[in-house]
């Protein structure tokens, strides 16, 4: 199968859907002729021009709400925030309008809006360019949240997002953007709410989010050498969350670790732990454990690169869990 990077795969999905649907347009800073700070729209401006690839002023709140109105009126906007941190100025309208318009209108309005941006504590990005924020969008009713970790998933989930009538947050971790992997030539969509078993195993289940997926796979290889068989699950979307796949795995392994670079409190891991306990209590041979990033803003000096979990942290957490 052909190989491409995560960014290329997501962009191919966008290009295909823009060709298919004239109501799709993209707004963001530098997503026009420049093609996006992360090359998310490279080449599309030449095909579709300034109305469908719209460079914006630094008005994140304004263009987020504007795109909400555009979606309500039959357009299909893609808001490209570049760094997801910049979406924070639009939270008010996202939580009060974007997420609620379908419900408030009794389903008469649809809300086909895609919000995308890069997440994560990548190398030296610092306190204002390293946000994650996905638990907020799990907490508030009305959003779908996709966090792909491979080129194949990026394309398939982006296609689904661009055909969904719900507001979708599409999060791209900076550390996986340049990851290469196989992407089918033929058209495919990946439905929301289906986790992928990234590696099968029998001793312990690890749920990993975003850039933690490749790291956990690496850790699993090391652990395999020690005779430990790790099952790695990538939820791919956290809203909806495919808890059944996780429960089935825990039924087999009896042990669960969630690896997520985002802050622990009220995060994805807390929600998974609570649900697995409620529905799979008897399957658990040990308490569900969480491995998260440090509870602090992101620091720039490279000595802090390990403020989010690294491969040795994951192997250690798995060993500790097995020892319980």
């Amino acid at each position: 199968m052909r190989e491409m990077t995560f960014v290329e795969a997501a962009r191919e999905a966008l290009a295909e859907e823009m060709a298919r649907n004239p109501a799709i347009f993209v707004v963001g800073e530098g997503i026009g002729a420049r093609g996006g700070s992360f090359n998310t729209t490279l080449g599309l401006y030449d095909l579709y021009g300034p109305e469908r690839l719209r460079d914006t002023p630094i008005s994140e709140r304004g263009f987020t709400a504007l795109c909400t109105g555009a979606a309500a009126a039959g357009g299909r906007p893609v808001v490209d925030f570049m760094f997801i941190d910049f979406l924070a100025d639009g939270f008010g309208d996202l939580f009060n309008q974007t997420s609620k318009l379908q419900w408030m209108s009794g389903g008469r309005l649809k809300m086909p809006i895609l919000l995308r941006g890069c997440i994560g504590v990548a190398k030296s990005n610092g306190a204002h360019h390293s946000g994650n924020y996905y638990p907020f969008f799990m907490h508030i009713p009305g959003f779908r949240v996709a966090i792909p970790a491979s080129p194949r998933d990026a394309k398939g989930l982006m296609k689904t997002a661009l055909r969904s009538n719900d507001p979708v947050l599409f999060l791209e971790h900076k550390d996986v953007l340049m990851l290469r992997g196989p992407v089918p030539e033929e058209e495919y969509l990946i439905p929301f709410g289906e986790a992928s078993v990234a590696r099968e195993g029998k001793d312990v289940t690890v749920v990993a989010i975003a850039a933690m997926v490749p790291k956990t796979l690496k850790a699993s290889e090391e652990l395999a050498k020690e005779g430990v068989s790790v099952e790695v699950i990538d939820p791919r979307t956290v809203a909806p969350l495919d808890i059944d796949t996780i429960l089935a795995s825990v039924h087999k392994t009896g042990r669960l670790l969630i690896v997520d670079e985002d802050f622990a409190p009220c995060g994805v891991g807390a929600e998974i732990a609570a649900q697995v306990m409620a529905r799979g209590f008897d399957d658990l041979d040990a308490p569900v454990q969480r491995l998260n990033g440090a509870f602090a803003p992101a620091a720039t000096s490279a000595v802090f690169d390990n403020m989010v979990p690294q491969v040795p942290d994951i192997t250690k957490a798995v060993r500790d869990l097995l020892a319980e």
Binding site: F25, F63, L66, A72, A73, R108, L109, F192, P240
Partner: protein
């Protein structure tokens, strides 16, 4: 009318409207007034679920603007949205039933006074949050332009929204992108109880248009014909691809901010009396009776609407409660997991 001295003030148009059109404006204003009078009584009787912000005294604005709109044009409204909804074609039945919390309400009873939705006829909803009507209306206009329709979009908002970031960002984006949208500021000089001149050193809203480079027009907000004319020109520009306009309508709410709230301390009885004397409906009735229509024409409408609102109230009273299951429906559109 001290405020109207500021900025550009459009002279009241001589006419140009047919008798039918003139009577329609009168009818529309009266529908709003009578419906709200009914809501006020119901509020006092404890029949309203949630808040109730009336538009009494401001009816000329929604009426003069919406008279130009097609059903496929859209309106984004505020917490004070009864008038916008009714002028856009929502029926008194649907509004009263909504505030009574009934299944037959325009939003199925889940919305109440501040969340009136009927997108089928372009009523895109009112909002309990001040501000986003501006930006969202600009967004609908984006879609209309992109898809090469000649539909237009209208944002209503109060003077209170003028100091909000959504005013600045929304109007700037719409202007630089040349979007077919009309921004209608209902400047009633107060946000709740805070006077506008305590919210800004420049309470002349229309003059703000210069900061963004779009046309700004101030108009007597209690004169339905003046509003009709100014809105018509702006809407023609929007439909013609000439971009947005900021229309400031200087008006006044003669009741408290919200039913059940006290209405003292922050404004004088004289000020209220002065504005009541400029009631847009009474004034327009006088204009009509000054040779444009007969007393009979007007009385017929008065009677028609009296009955309409009584019937609407009975309808709302006898309507069923919402099915509790709808609460969690429509949170999502797709089934997806």
């Amino acid at each position: 009318m001290a405020k109207a001295k500021l900025g550009v003030v459009i002279e009241k148009p001589a006419a140009g409207l047919s008798k039918e059109q003139l009577l329609d404006l009168y009818r529309q204003m009266l529908i709003i007034r009578r419906t709200e009078e009914q809501l006020i009584r119901a509020y006092q009787a404890g029949k309203i679920h949630g808040a109730c912000h009336t538009y009494v005294g401001e009816e000329a604005v929604a009426t003069g603007v919406c008279a130009h709109l097609r059903p496929d044009d859209v309106v984004f409204s505020t917490h004070r949205g009864h008038g916008h909804a009714l002028a856009k074609g929502v029926t008194p039945r649907e509004v009263i039933a909504e505030l009574f919390g009934k299944a037959t309400g325009v939003s199925g009873g889940i919305g109440g006074s501040m969340h009136l939705f009927k997108p089928e006829i372009g009523m895109m909803g009112s909002s309990g949050i001040v501000g986003p009507s501006i930006t969202m209306a600009a967004g609908a206009a984006y879609t209309f332009k992109l898809l090469k329709t000649n539909r237009i979009s209208v944002a209503f908002f109060g003077d209170g929204a003028v100091s909000n970031g959504s005013f600045h960002e929304g109007i700037n984006l719409a202007t630089v992108w040349g979007l077919p949208v009309l921004f209608v500021c209902e400047n009633n000089m107060y946000a709740t109880e805070v006077p506008f001149n305590q919210a800004t050193k420049n309470p002349d809203v229309a003059s703000r248009a210069k900061a963004y480079g779009l046309p700004g027009v101030a108009v007597d907000g209690n004169d339905v014909l003046a509003i009709y004319q100014a809105a018509g020109e702006a809407i023609q520009r929007a439909r013609g691809g000439e971009g947005p306009t900021l229309l400031e309508c200087r008006t006044y709410r003669t009741r408290a901010h919200s039913e059940g709230m006290r209405d003292t301390g922050y404004r004088t009885a004289e000020e209220i009396a002065e504005w009541k004397a400029r009631d847009p409906i009474a004034r327009f009735r006088d204009v009509l009776l000054g040779g444009l229509a007969s007393e009979g024409d007007v009385i017929r409408i008065d009677e028609e609407i009296k009955i309409m609102v009584e019937e609407a109230t009975a309808f709302a009273d006898s309507s069923p409660w919402p099915d509790k299951a709808i609460l969690t429906q429509h949170v999502y559109s797709d089934s997806g997991g």
